[in-house]
């Protein structure tokens, strides 16, 4: 499912709301989440999971093509931890199929 399919599905599930409105909300949701991570703020969405920005230290790497040494700069990456509800739901469906 892509972002535009998500917008369409949500629009069809709520009465009296336009696709444009849902699109604005979806953009606001992920915009807020991006801003939080950019500010190094943790995000906790009950039921879905949490996101946290971690810093990876600068390290010596190698260009795999030339073997040349390069310094990979320090960088920040987001990590996602699945929430309890989603973790369980994803497995219940799976168990039912097996």
């Amino acid at each position: 499912m892509t972002k535009s399919q998500l917008i369409e599905t949500v629009t069809s599930r709520i009465q009296n709301v336009s696709k444009k409105d849902v699109e604005l909300v979806v953009e606001t949701i992920f915009g807020c989440m991006t801003d939080a991570l950019a500010k190094d703020e943790r995000i906790e969405i009950r039921g879905l999971g949490s996101f946290v920005a971690k810093t990876r230290d600068a390290r010596e790497g190698r260009n795999p093509k030339t073997g040349e040494k390069v310094t990979v700069p320090r960088k920040r990456t987001p990590f996602f931890t699945v929430g309890k509800e989603l973790k369980e739901r994803v497995n219940v469906k799976r168990a039912a199929r097996a």
Partner: protein, 93 residues
């Protein structure tokens, strides 16, 4: 302080002018739809943010780190997240 769903609802209410209850309903439906998609084992791609990918893990033998005892870890489905280059760029700007 961690950002929560309530903060997002507040932002939608302030920025877009929806009523509190409408903002809350739309935000909840967005997250619920995301969960249902992953529950079905379907990949979820949010361009500009990242991809959520359900992955099926086979049964494997693990160890209780405390006792060293070998135990079987049952087959399961897990959800992984891979950040979009756009999000990574914003975090490293």
């Amino acid at each position: 302080m961690a950002m929560t769903k309530a903060d997002i609802v507040e932002e939608v209410f302030k920025k877009l002018g929806f009523s509190k209850s409408q903002a809350s309903e739309i935000v909840e439906t967005v997250f619920e739809t995301m969960k249902e998609t992953l529950e079905r084992g379907e990949k979820l791609k949010i361009s500009g943010f990242g991809n959520f990918v359900p992955r099926d893990k086979k049964t494997r033998i693990g160890r209780n780190p405390k006792t060293g005892e070998a135990i079987e870890i049952s087959a399961r489905r897990v959800v992984t997240f891979k950040a979009s280059p756009v999000l990574k760029a914003r975090m490293n700007a």
